[in-house]
């Protein structure tokens, strides 16, 4: 194992991850803050460092359409976007997952309009929760690079596309040291893609024909799935992908020495107050937790790496004994609460957990979230835990209203 440490930003890390994964077709449309990633990839291709077709499409909708069609042919395809671009892809996100194509998409998380805002939050990818993609979030640039490579391995095993999400600017434009694996090791980890789709005039197949609700006989009299069975299989694939994601993490640590699982835990062994966050916010939460520890609170941090499928079992195991769970969300399901908070409550239902759960909406549209603010929010909430209200009806917003 020989790795080179480079000081790079998150977009560069994602681009290197795609190159090391030997992607064969790249289609992308520029959008802030994803742009340097696609520029880097087109540069790799023009320099001859990456043997791939770079398709400079006229929209994100077309970017994902190019990727789905290239993937049906059997090519390993990659795209990247942010915010409005991801929203514009919405129809194709469903289509890619429905076709069970192992695409990888880097989502550089950015707020979504109106009003216009180019800075970070996670509303864009959270809004695509129900499209059938696996969603994982990186806390730092090393995790971005490693996750892109792992994403192909996972996607191509379970035939479900994977979205690797990382925070715009906070990671995409911030340089930090990243150990870049060498190509030989990545090749050992990630074998060439074996497609499940065939486009051959000698064995003609017609993909994604109109499909009725009920099963139907084919020309040979064999009963084939209806629409609902095909949907069930996608759900089953996502449920089962948890094992593949864990296994992929195990194989990765063996070759590269960096350990990956479904969650990140920090100071959790004796914690009775747990801060939960996803993406780079989980790193800020660690700093907040350290501050609180110094003040005598028994805090820990649970970082969510995987959002879809939601790692219920691991979340329950991590949180069952907690007294208080403080969930920080960089997204909001309007009229409800932060998305990860809802997931955690849902996971804990019936587990016997007695923790009070508080939800904080933070960092929307690039609003800075400091460790001190997180720590203060936790402390402010502690008195309310003494009453019997385990749940609060709506989240608290850390903003000037």
């Amino acid at each position: 194992m020989t790795e080179k440490t480079q000081i790079i930003d998150g977009n560069r890390a994602a681009a290197l991850g795609a190159m090391l994964s030997r992607v064969q077709v790249i289609a992308a449309y520029p959008i802030t803050p994803q742009t340097p990633l696609t520029e880097a990839l087109s540069e790799f291709v023009e320099r001859g460092e990456l043997d791939a077709q770079y398709v400079a499409v006229e929209s994100e909708h077309s970017a994902l359409a190019v990727c789905t069609s290239a993937s049906i042919v059997g090519a390993r395809a990659f795209t990247a976007t942010s915010s409005h671009g991801l929203a514009y892809m919405h129809e194709m996100l469903h289509w890619a997952a429905g076709t069970r194509l192992p695409l990888v998409l880097a989502c550089v998380n950015r707020a979504i309009g109106a009003p216009w805002n180019v800075l970070n939050d996670q509303q864009d990818s959270i809004s695509q929760r129900d499209t059938g993609w696996i969603q994982m979030y990186a806390r730092n640039n090393q995790e971005i690079l490693d996750s892109v490579i792992q994403a192909y391995k996972i996607a191509e095993k379970v035939y479900v596309p994977v979205m690797v999400c990382y925070d715009g600017y906070i990671l995409s434009h911030t340089e930090m040291p990243v150990d870049v694996p060498n190509q030989k090791d990545v090749d050992k980890f990630l074998p060439p893609y074996k497609p499940h789709t065939i486009l051959d005039p000698n064995n003609p197949k017609n993909y994604n024909l109109v499909t009725l609700a009920n099963p139907r006989l084919n020309a040979e009299g064999v009963l084939c799935h209806g629409y609902m069975e095909i949907r069930y299989l996608l759900q089953e694939a996502l449920q089962n992908s948890i094992d593949t994601i864990v296994q992929t993490g195990r194989e990765f640590v063996e070759l590269f020495g960096r350990s990956y699982n479904l969650l990140w835990k920090d100071g959790m062994d004796d914690a009775d107050i747990v801060i939960v966050a996803m993406g780079s916010l989980a790193m800020e939460a660690i700093a907040a937790s350290e501050m609180l520890r110094e003040q005598g609170y028994k805090t820990g941090v649970l970082g969510l790496r995987l959002f879809r499928p939601f790692p219920k079992k691991d979340v329950v195991n991590a949180l069952r004994e907690s007294r208080a769970i403080m969930v920080f969300d960089k997204n909001i399901s309007y009229g409800q609460e932060g998305a990860t908070c809802s997931e955690i409550k849902s996971a804990l239902y019936g587990s016997g957990a007695k923790a009070a759960i508080r939800n904080f909406i933070v960092g929307l549209g690039g609003r800075d979230v400091t460790a001190r603010e997180i720590a203060d929010a936790v402390k402010r909430s502690l008195p309310s835990l003494s009453d019997t209200t385990l749940n609060s009806e709506y989240p608290q917003w850390i903003c000037h209203i």
């Binding site: 190019v66 486009l199 005039p201 994604n208 024909l209 109109v210 084919n218």
Partner: protein, 300 residues
Amino acid sequence: MAINAVNLTEKEYLLPGNRLCPGCALSLAYRHILKAFEGQVIVTVPASCLTVLHGMYPVTSVTVPCVNTPFATTGASASGLVAGMKALGKKGLTVLAIAGDGGTYDIGIQSLSGAIERRSDFVYICYDNEGYMNTGNQRSGSTPLGAISGTTPILGKQQSPKDITAIMEAHGIPYAATANACYPLDLYEKVRKAGAIQGTRFIHVFTPCPPGWRFPFSDTIKIGQLAVETGWVVLFEVEGGVFRLTSASESIARRGKLKPLREYLSRQGRFKNITEDQINELQTSVDVRWKRCLNRAGNK
């Protein structure tokens, strides 16, 4: 050797018994298009009447590989198939994108225009039944002035359609042509020619629609021929910038006279509420276009 009904390949790639309406010109057109490629294609198709022709899972009426793609993405999907095959070094198959007028003039024009600008290597066929016929006949960017549709139910459409072939030509493509399902050999020859050229090739195929246009199922060929004889449709091709009239349009140019447009319009229920002014406007635009075509072809 010129293609005729005797030496046309007997092999069928479109199986008998599909789900299209009786008298649909699309079946006829698609049958000859697939013959022209000798089945060596990958077809990408958006939501359209062709989706209906292709059948319902797990039964299909075609024997060529097909990819269904969302409505707006035909050009992008074709581009992706081309890129995928190039990346994998696969050769010998032509990518055929085929969409209706709604999928081409309206929702698909962006992805098609982008793919052409990237000089993507595929054949694009727009079969034009002048409306959203798959959803029961609503107006599209191709529906003619004066035509009644589900969304122009009483007055008929108040605007003229775009000239999609001119728009495609303006992209600087190596081959653009018009064809008509009711002249299948002319269509066949154009598809074969397009198949042998590199770059994005565009063929507009006029496909009369009995239920949408409200004429008897048995009259499809008659309507298609009248369209050419009246100049409603002009059959031509533009290859490497050189314009040429073909088939019946070429012989009409030599004889020198179009039939009055009224003969074509009066046979279709969709024009039952058309006004005299609209008929005159349509006749004028047909005459102007015909003259322009004659000029371009060099026989004034």
